[in-house]
């Protein structure tokens, strides 16, 4: 296993989502990127080239681990096998942060592998907060919880998403990965004010920000992570930086992955906005 002791675990500036298409370029050119984020679900195997490459990247860059399988809002018991594997990866890669989403992915032990919505209620806020605490205890570290993008709302919902986030922060002590694109996508899909959302998020809890591109569909915005960041999301990001300060920010791109330089140009835009903040 690699010696990681020479790198601190803290991250700052604008990082990039690490995708296999870019490994070779990163190995060859050693680009000046402050940190990379890995999709933890792609490294769940017992061994092989992906985790070997990730360890090689980790020798030169701080990493964060971002996943979709915790199923924090599922009525199913926590998947301890999944969490054990995640713990193993975290031990190997020593990430600055481990994060997942405010969502559920399985029902009665059957997995959808997608981030599904649930009603925001007094019961679910306590339930999800308890699950976050259990995950943190199991992993032996804090996790960041990300706000999802969503395409529907339930009659049973009793509070706004930002009130729900306030609740889980208060009850579990967790920190937040704030996805600015997701706020905007959900704001358009459900007709709320994204700036009101930003103002309600506890400023001291936001430890990481995500930026990505959505796709405009007939009647809704779809969170594809397959485009450059859109202008209204940049505007919202600027407001977020004013409120939360220079929070480490990630450029995410998951579908139709472009060349590495396109990712870096998006990162430079975010860096420029970050520099404007005192």
């Amino acid at each position: 296993m690699s010696d990681l002791s020479f790198k601190t675990q803290s991250i700052q500036g604008v990082g990039l989502g690490l995708r296999s298409a870019h490994y070779q370029e990163i190995f060859d050119t050693k680009p000046d990127v402050p940190w990379f984020e890995l999709l933890s679900d792609n490294y769940m195997a017992e061994g092989g080239l992906p985790i070997h490459r990730a360890e090689k990247i980790r020798q030169n860059y701080p990493l964060t681990l971002h996943g979709v399988g915790m199923s924090l809002a599922s009525a199913d018991p926590l998947d301890l096998d999944y969490l054990s594997r995640l713990k193993t990866i975290a031990k190997r890669l020593q990430p600055a942060y481990v994060s997942d989403h405010l969502a559920w992915v399985s029902a009665s032990g059957q997995y959808t592998h997608d981030l599904l919505p649930f009603p925001y209620t007094q019961f679910t806020v306590q339930y999800v907060a308890d699950r976050i605490s259990q995950v943190q205890d199991f992993l032996g570290r804090e996790i960041l919880v990300e706000n999802p993008s969503s395409y529907l709302e339930f009659h049973a919902t009793e509070m706004t998403e930002w009130e729900f986030i306030q609740g889980i922060c208060q009850k579990s002590g967790c920190n937040i990965l704030l996805d600015i694109n997701n706020i905007y996508v959900s704001a358009v899909n459900h007709g709320f004010d994204p700036y009101e959302y930003l103002q309600a998020i506890p400023a001291d809890r936001v430890k990481e920000i995500h930026l990505a591109g959505y796709e405009k569909m007939q009647g809704y915005l779809f969170d594809t992570h397959g485009y450059r960041v859109h202008p209204p999301v940049w505007d919202l990001y600027q407001a977020a930086l004013k409120r939360f300060g220079r929070v480490p920010t990630l450029i995410e791109w998951d579908t139709d992955i472009p060349d590495f330089e396109t990712l870096r140009s998006e990162a430079r835009k975010a860096e420029a906005k970050m520099k404007e903040v005192a």
């Binding site: 679900d41 092989g48 915790m70």
Partner: protein, 275 residues
Amino acid sequence: MDDQKIETLDALKCLQDEFYHAIFDAKTATIAQTASTIIAAGELSPTERINIYRGSILGGITSALTNIYPVCVKLVGEEYFTHMVSAYLKKYPSSSADLGRYGEHLPAYIAEFKPAQDLPYLSDVAQLELLWHKAFNAAEDVFSKDGLRSLVELQDISEQEHARMEFCLASSVHLFNSSYPVHRIWRVNQDEFQERYSGEGSVDLSEGGAKLLIWRGADFSMRVDVLSDDEYQFVAAFLEGKSFEDIVDMPFNQPVSDILQRCIQTGLVIGFKLV
């Protein structure tokens, strides 16, 4: 809608189970039940909103299986493969949070999948791709763990210890005995083959079956090797846990030392243990 309050774990479980069935069973009644829990607002109906999630879920799972079974997708086309995955999902729901583990019943499912009967070799191609996927993701062999020692340490073994010595294969090894030349079908459908030999990719099914070894080298390179009958029996005996003493006594056509030598040269035999 007071009757839809989510105040207990049972209520949450009920809502999520119904949502799951609205996605995967897609029956009118189950969709209507879930649709009644969703706020009707904006341009989209509750059902259309459920459909967004169905498309996203099926797209994500199909994409994951496409990554495991790319040659099958080439052979049948994306539309056909997507249809097959939808049917497969109903019979074999995913039972692990790790999407990389999903789809291991697909080769057997294809063998029984009536619309695919005119491609009798498709199930075997899928099996080859599944074994490739497993070998790619297998745990690394770690010397000193579980008594595994490298071959260079053979010189330190005394004559008395020879009887206790067992050779060890790379743990990524999988054998596959197919009735079809699946390795050729697999090879002509690799991207690099298409680039190099554009238009020349044809396979004569009448050439018969193949005994294959699918494994990963120490440098992470992936291998699909065609084995002789002797080599196949030799590796199979190892995987069955037979001792080297017993393997030596098996009726091979060629000297067993030659087979062992080749396995050491290719890196398939990675080390030994004293048992």
